[in-house]
């Protein structure tokens, strides 16, 4: 099964992290990504750009209509997402809990619909 993990945050929160802590945070993140790429369970890990770069795209009269996003006026935006492919939900939850920031902020966890009927 595949699982989507999402991490939320906002600029204010990220600005509050002292610059000298970044290298260690990045190293921990890299180690996490490396570990689960090696097991074949991490399909991809992606950090998103700042919210000012988000756009909303519609099609109006057959032509793309693009406005500044994001869609919802929320305090926190999606900051990064991971796609896992794991043997069981239990295993995926265990990996989600190992995301370096999971001791600070909750990781949103979504099973991804599967094209094959679920096995017994």
């Amino acid at each position: 099964m595949k699982y989507l993990l999402m991490i939320y945050g906002n600029q204010e929160k990220w600005d509050s992290i002292p610059a000298e802590e970044w290298p260690e945070a990045i190293a921990r993140q890299d180690a996490f990504n490396r570990k689960y790429r090696e097991t074949g369970e991490l399909v991809g890990a992606y950090g998103l750009a700042d919210a000012v770069n988000a756009r909303l795209v519609r099609r109006e009269n057959g032509a793309p209509a693009v406005t500044d996003g994001p869609y919802l006026e929320t305090k926190e935006y999606m900051a990064s997402f991971y796609l896992l492919d794991c043997e069981s939900e239990e295993r995926a939850l265990q990996i989600a809990a190992e995301i370096p920031s999971a001791d600070q902020d909750a990781v949103e966890f979504w099973p991804v619909l599967h094209e094959a009927p679920a096995d017994a």
Partner: protein, 418 residues
């Protein structure tokens, strides 16, 4: 295999034999496996243009051996595993061996290879990936496409599996007699999982993503050649063929799932049904006790015998589920048995059985219990309740085709409800 198989079919047929030849000569499953993949690639590139060599297997063994030598030399130069591989075997000896020199040994060898790839020391996804590559001869890219993951993800899974074989020192030999039955059950389970993964409504682009159910059937046929009279092997193959026979009727033109009771039975593949029935008869004719695959195949067989759903012999199906629940208890079996109870004794006692199953944590979080309840409520005529149970089941379903199917059923029962 009949007729003249294409180059790809031939290569995949030879892949496990070449791998075994290398492992026997040199040891070191992981390096041999890499070398065989490279030889298969070289053949796939050169054979279609230059023609298939007279002794294709000898060609592959020679090329793979050279690749292995290259790899080992490279590793040696890095001072790794200096004394692992003995390279003294004359190439002439490898070349001289005709393709079908010793069919007896080939059969045993592919079995040993399956046992190794499905070893319980490996995780289930690793077993599946390794079986498809080492025994099935599929490339990493093809396996990745079949499972809808990027190639590097699958490459990591395979290399990790091979690393586990190396570090756990798993031997390349058949399991001891004492654990043989258990290990064979693991092999059958892996093949069954591969089949189920591929038993989908849409098979996608068959050029890039091979049909996993077709591959599972091919591998199970290979296993059957090694163990022609094993009743569970026969049972699993029969089960797969019964299911595969229904494939043409299982999907509506719009891609949605058609349940068994609504399938156009004239579209079932009769040749596959007949083959499955013959295998099942043979399996059940043996003296050994019935196993779970024989029983599941027998249930599929009873369904298939009925010319239309109303002619289904439900008492016989219920009897088979009783046995299955006894020898291989499983919550999904209990749910299916409840449906058979409903068909024999009416929905009320079946709903009581379901109530008793609610405590099972494996069922309470998923969609199956709710979907079965919806079906039973529909049989009982409680259409409003059935529709809401179908909707609740759809919310929990994690498979896109099943979710669409459950929502369609809900909509059919309450067309005005939103």
């Amino acid at each position: 295999m009949s007729g003249a198989p294409g180059v790809e079919d031939l290569l995949r047929e030879l892949a496990p034999q070449v791998l075994v030849a290398l492992v026997r000569r040199y040891g070191g499953f992981d390096l041999c496996e890499d070398a065989v993949q490279e030889a298969l690639l070289a053949a796939a590139l050169s054979w279609p243009a230059e023609g298939v060599p007279d002794n294709p297997r000898g060609w592959l063994v020679t090329v793979a051996s050279r690749r292995l030598v290259d790899q080992v030399r490279a590793e040696r130069s890095r001072r790794l595993r200096e004394d692992r591989v003995v390279l003294a075997t004359p190439q002439s000896e490898l070349l001289a061996r005709p393709a079908d020199a010793d069919p007896e040994t080939d059969r045993d060898d592919s079995l040993t290879l399956l046992f190794l790839c499905c070893h319980p020391a490996l995780s289930t996804p690793s077993r599946i990936a390794l079986t498809l590559r080492a025994v099935g001869g599929l490339s990493t890219a093809q396996i990745a496409a079949a499972f809808l993951v990027p190639e590097p993800t699958m490459a990591q899974r395979i290399s990790r599996a091979k690393q586990s074989i190396r570090t756990s020192n798993l031997p390349f030999r058949p399991p001891e007699a004492a654990e043989r039955a258990e290990r064979l059950a693991e092999v059958l389970h892996v093949l069954y999982l591969i089949f189920n993964e591929g038993y989908t409504a849409s098979d996608g682009d068959s050029l890039t993503a091979p049909s996993l159910s077709g591959e599972a059937i091919r591998l199970t046929r290979l296993l059957r050649r090694a163990l022609p009279e094993d009743p569970e092997v026969l049972g699993l193959l029969a089960l797969m063929l019964f299911a595969d026979a229904r494939r043409p009727a299982r999907t509506a033109p719009d891609g949605s799932l058609v349940p068994l009771s609504e399938q156009d039975r004239s579209r079932w593949d009769r040749a596959l049904v007949d083959e499955a029935a013959a295998l099942l008869t043979r399996a059940l004719g043996g003296a050994s006790p019935l196993g779970p695959y024989q029983l599941q195949a027998a249930i599929a067989g009873v369904h298939t015998e009925a010319a239309d759903p109303s002619a289904t012999d439900w008492p016989q199906i219920l009897g088979l589920y009783d046995l299955l629940e006894k020898i291989a208890p499983n919550p999904v079996t209990s749910l299916n048995r409840a449906v058979a109870v409903a068909m024999v004794h009416g929905p009320a006692p079946a709903l009581e059985l379901l109530a008793a199953l609610e405590a099972d944590a494996r069922l309470s979080r998923g969609h199956r219990l709710l979907a079965t309840r919806a079906h039973l409520l529909e049989l009982q005529g409680d259409l409003t309740e059935a529709a809401s149970a179908y909707r609740a089941a759809a919310h929990r379903a994690l498979s896109a085709p099943e979710r669409r199917h459950l929502l369609t059923r809900a909509a059919r029962l309450s067309p005005k409800a939103s």
